[in-house]
């Protein structure tokens, strides 16, 4: 029996990625990374800034997402996100801009702990991208 399932990544403008031959996807859910294999129980969660890793038979792809919602149901993983890009064509300028805007946001006083945590995390992830 095959251990493959479907993935659909959509953003508001278009369908970003659609595959039916993936065997594992790692998503940065808000309470920690989740690895999803076939026949995972239905789950809904939302994302924190991080890297989505998609393992298919032929290749491995990584995407940076800022936020979004994931739903897994009937062996289809749907990812709804408004900001996503492939790590392969990451734009150095864009990454460094995002880092500095996130850091500027961090330096404000009026943010709560949860937001501070998310922003810190975002900076971390973005920095790890720009090093590679």
């Amino acid at each position: 029996m095959s251990n493959l399932f479907n993935i659909d990544i959509v953003n508001p403008e278009q369908s970003f990625l659609s595959k039916d031959n993936v065997f594992e996807v790692v998503i940065p859910a808000v309470e920690g990374e989740i690895g999803i294999l076939k026949d995972h129980i239905p789950i809904i969660s939302f994302l924190k800034p991080g890297i989505i890793k998609v393992f298919s038979e032929s290749e491995e792809q990584s995407f940076y997402v800022e936020d979004g919602i994931v739903e897994f149901k009937d062996n289809t993983l749907s990812v709804l996100t408004s900001s996503i890009f492939d790590l392969k064509d990451a734009d150095k300028n864009f990454v460094s801009e995002s880092i500095s805007s996130a850091e500027a946001e961090l330096s404000k006083d009026n943010i709560d702990d949860q937001k501070r945590f998310l922003l810190n995390h975002k900076v971390e992830v973005l920095k790890s991208i720009s090093i590679n």
Binding site: I43, I44, I69, E71, S82
Partner: protein, 293 residues
């Protein structure tokens, strides 16, 4: 009776108008294709978003404490209306149809002595509404600078709505836009986005309720998701609107080109007739002059 010279001038002027409308029609046709593609590409996102919310709201047991964006504030005194129109005219009944639809709604609200607040998106809507409803318009947004419809703009509108909701500035929110059916038909739509109305036709699949695992819990996901949904709905409306606008403009300009053609034909006949009449008149004068000799 206009002179020959007047007629000639009118014919040239109608002809050049025809050229413009023809060009506008072709531009609209090209833009329409792109807008339609965009609208189709954007559909999966809003559909999936709807699905997720539907699944979530089914699994919410504690209706009392459910997020207010979903169930409403329990009152419906203040209505906020978002009227989405185009920034440019010359597109047939496109803007007027939305305004008409919105006005009937406004009148209903006013006659029920409820408070009305209006946000207009797109300058044409503001122009048409400010005459009658100036005091109700709280905000006027226009995206003239952005060439393409993008999610970022829709998100801006969404954020304004959320902000107003959190400040308890309204209880019910509805958006008005044109739904693109085909090039000739655009249907003005009224859609309530706060509180969220469940689509009745989606209810038939309620039998297979999935036991979802939620991380974190339902409430938190919902309160995170609902603001996004508003932006998504607005984005969807904007996409539909832009396709409708181009379609409507194309039809309007096609009609205008045809009418201009008919007008040119009629004017040409009139021109030829009066020219012939002048020639005949001169001939008669010459002949009768020669006879009298």
């Amino acid at each position: 009776m206009p002179s020959l010279d007047d007629l000639r001038k009118r014919i040239t002027s109608v002809k050049s108008t025809q050229k413009i409308t023809k060009a506008m029609k072709m531009v609209a046709a090209a833009k329409l294709r792109k807008a339609q593609e965009n609208a189709e590409k954007g559909r999966p996102y809003s559909e999936k978003m709807n699905n997720v919310i539907l699944n979530l709201s089914k699994s919410i047991t504690d209706k009392e404490n459910a997020p207010k964006l979903l169930v409403g504030t329990g009152e419906e005194k203040v209505h906020l209306c978002i009227v989405l129109t185009a920034d440019r005219g010359l597109c047939g009944g496109f803007n007027t149809n939305i305004i008409k639809k919105a006005k009937t709604y406004f009148e209903k609200i006013i006659s029920e002595y409820k408070t009305l607040k209006i946000i207009t998106v797109g300058s044409k809507g503001y122009d048409q509404l400010k005459r009658q409803y100036k005091s109700y318009i709280v905000e006027n947004i226009s995206f003239k600078e952005s060439k393409n419809i993008n999610y970022f703009d829709a998100d801006k509108v969404g954020k304004i709505i959320i902000e107003k909701f959190e400040k308890n500035e309204f209880d019910v929110c509805a958006i008005f836009y044109n739904k693109f059916k085909n090039v000739i038909t655009q249907i003005p739509q009224e859609q309530q986005i706060v509180p969220l109305n469940e689509d009745k036709d989606d209810k038939d699949d309620s039998g297979n309720d999935n036991d979802y695992e939620f991380e974190p819990d339902e409430d938190e996901i919902l309160s995170n998701l609902l603001p996004k949904n508003i932006s998504t709905q607005i984005f969807k409306a904007m996409l539909e609107n832009s396709a409708s606008e181009q379609g409507s403009r194309m039809t309007a300009m096609d009609n205008a080109t045809r009418n201009a053609g008919e007008l040119v034909d009629r004017l040409t006949i009139e021109y030829n007739r009066s020219r012939q009449a002048a020639i005949t008149k001169e001939l008669i004068e010459i002949i009768s002059g020669a006879e009298s000799l």
